[in-house]
């Protein structure tokens, strides 16, 4: 009974508002709808164009050449396998460093560290997102690369390792902020109960909050990986861009993104140029599937919460 009254009181003003500004509401809805349709079309068009430009490779039978191990366009070899391997190697190693670090910092903020430090640390992480990528790249070229070259005396310093270290700093805030937003939702819900049960803060974080945030943990990993795959500048500036399959962390590598950036200004009528679209296609499909995975994960976690 009580709730029914409450319900009626809520709906009447809303209905009145609708009737008075019905036209405007209708128009704004249409505008928003067309904006949504437009952006969806842009993505589809992007896919269409990529497919269209990749087509000459298929029809010429040059597609198999893309999966050669060597990139020597002046000698008729257009293999982008080294770049695919470079991209995967770089993204995984960067995630391997950044993810545990991000997790640790996030737990530090949420109670493993002293309380007075958590706000400044979070502020610092937020500040890190504002640092332009080129600054990281620049610092890496001037400090990290010579350091690696002189320390390990193997290779030029422009290497997988240099790119991994710089890239892991770049994707660190992405991972931390995503984990943080998850924990911020979960921790207050559980903290009182946990404290009442006599569970210490570290115990509560490690055994209750963290498992409850499992979707966030996976989402942070996927998003961090996506950011690492998509970044161009770090790889272009410090990875060395050699078109080889790396044997060690000290080898120079080239990522797909850096490859596109480097080759895009070639003669636009050449096969070299068309092969770029195949690289673009692979990147596009990768990031799309990453986003899809995130979306599915979100739906799954939303469904799970409803059941709780």
């Amino acid at each position: 009974m009580n709730s029914e009254i409450c319900h009626r009181q809520k709906t009447t003003p809303r209905r009145r508002a609708l009737s008075s500004s019905g036209i405007f509401a209708g128009i704004s809805e249409k505008i928003l709808q067309s904006a949504a349709i437009f952006s969806a079309l842009v993505v589809l068009a992007l896919f269409g164009f990529l497919a269209y430009f990749t087509l000459p490779l298929f029809s010429n039978g040059q597609f198999t050449e893309l999966f050669s191990l060597h990139w020597q366009p002046f000698h008729g070899q257009f293999g982008i396998i080294p770049m695919i391997i470079g991209t995967i190697a770089l993204a995984f190693t960067a995630l391997l460093i950044a993810y545990p670090l991000g997790l640790g910092i996030c737990l530090f903020i949420h109670g493993l560290g002293p309380a007075w430090l958590s706000r400044p640390v979070l502020l610092l992480i937020h500040g890190m997102t504002a640092v332009p990528t080129v600054v990281y790249g620049f610092v890496a070229v001037f400090l990290l690369v010579p350091l690696l070259r002189d320390t390990f005396r193997s290779g030029t310093g422009f290497s997988l390792l240099a790119a991994t270290l710089s890239l892991s700093i770049l994707i660190l805030p992405t991972i931390i902020l995503l984990l943080n937003s998850q924990l911020q939702q979960i921790v207050p819900r559980l903290r009182l109960t946990a404290t009442a049960l006599g569970i210490s803060r570290p115990q509560e974080l490690l055994y209750i909050s963290l498992p409850a945030a499992s979707h966030g943990l996976i989402a942070a990993a996927i998003l961090g990986f996506g950011r690492a795959v998509g970044d161009t500048l770090i790889a272009l500036m410090v990875a060395g861009n050699a078109t080889q399959i790396p044997d060690s962390a000290f080898d120079s590598i080239r990522t797909l993104t850096a490859h596109i950036a480097l080759v895009v200004s070639t003669d636009s009528q050449s096969t070299t140029y068309h092969s770029l679209f195949a690289g673009g296609m692979i990147l596009f499909l990768t990031t799309t599937s990453i986003n899809l995975a995130l979306h599915l994960l979100k739906r799954k976690s939303a469904g799970g919460r409803d059941c709780e």
Partner: protein, 278 residues
């Protein structure tokens, strides 16, 4: 009283200076009745010269606006062919395929640029033969001691396929030979200088115009890669720098090209280490 006198004198001097300026910059008079925008893009070796010209012209003529962008030789040809810019620069002639697609392109060569094999200043190697350089870039020679240097690994630096600098070095020095997969690739002449100047065991190549004392140009077959040797033809690794327009250039664009080709343009071209074509 004396102070007053001095200020009149200095004012007089100033006015003489101001009125005499236009007569000094007579090459800029060709822009007197012109106005509008000039958009320039393409080869990165051209940028210093283009910027000099743009600065001089815009300082004198407020109604003219000139924008200079990079992008590389391929981008320059493509953009001017599609009508996106007025002048598309390229550090190589327009390719046959490009000519087929953009049939109205007009090319204006304005300078000669040499490409020099480059080392770190501390590297004791002073001379390399072309066959030695070819073997190093193919990955057959990997240690400096094999060519008379220290016992150290050779760190190879090359440019991307879009680079005009790479194109001429590959054709005229490497004789279209292989460039090893493990060579580091840098995206511009500036990045090449940055990389080689900080790596004691580096071997790269760059436009003569970009050379300075942070790097060392090595002699090729005992011939130093200098402007003089490039002019008299004894240094072989040279190329022309081109400005390209789509169709006959409009008056404003024509005036810009003429200015770059004038004696003042030549001064700027020379000051950046290139050889003017007059």
């Amino acid at each position: 009283m004396k102070k007053h006198y001095m200020s009149i004198l200095s004012l007089g001097l100033l006015s003489v200076l101001i009125f005499s300026l236009p007569s000094l910059a007579s090459e800029l008079d060709r822009f007197n009745d012109l106005k509008g925008n000039i958009d320039i893009a393409g080869g990165t070796a051209h940028i210093p010269v283009m910027k000099d010209a743009a600065k001089a012209i815009m300082r004198q003529h407020n109604a003219i606006n000139i924008s200079v962008a990079g992008g590389g030789s391929g981008i320059g040809v493509q953009k001017v062919g599609e009508g996106l810019v007025d002048i598309g620069n390229a550090g190589r002639p327009v390719s046959g395929k490009e000519k087929k697609k953009y049939q109205n392109l007009h090319s204006f060569p304005f300078a000669v640029d040499g490409v020099a094999p480059t080392l770190h200043p501390d590297n004791p190697v002073e001379n390399l033969s072309s066959s030695q350089i070819q073997d190093i870039f193919a990955g057959k020679i990997t240690n400096w001691k094999e060519v008379g240097g220290n016992d150290a690994e050779i760190h190879l630096y090359s440019r991307d396929e879009a680079s005009g600098t790479r194109s001429v070095f590959w054709k005229k020095c490497l004789k279209k030979g292989l460039i090893a997969d493990f060579a580091n690739i840098v995206p511009s002449n500036g990045a090449m200088k940055g990389a080689v100047s900080r790596d004691k065991n580096a071997l790269g190549y760059m436009s003569i115009g970009h050379l300075d004392n942070t790097v060392k140009a090595v002699q090729l077959n005992n011939i130093a890669p200098t402007q003089d040797n490039a002019i008299n033809g004894s240094y072989p690794v040279v190329r022309k720098l081109f400005m390209n327009t789509n169709g006959e250039p409009k008056p404003l664009i024509k005036a810009f090209i003429d200015y770059v080709l004038s004696s003042e343009g030549a001064k700027s071209i020379q000051s950046h280490g290139y050889i003017p074509l007059i």
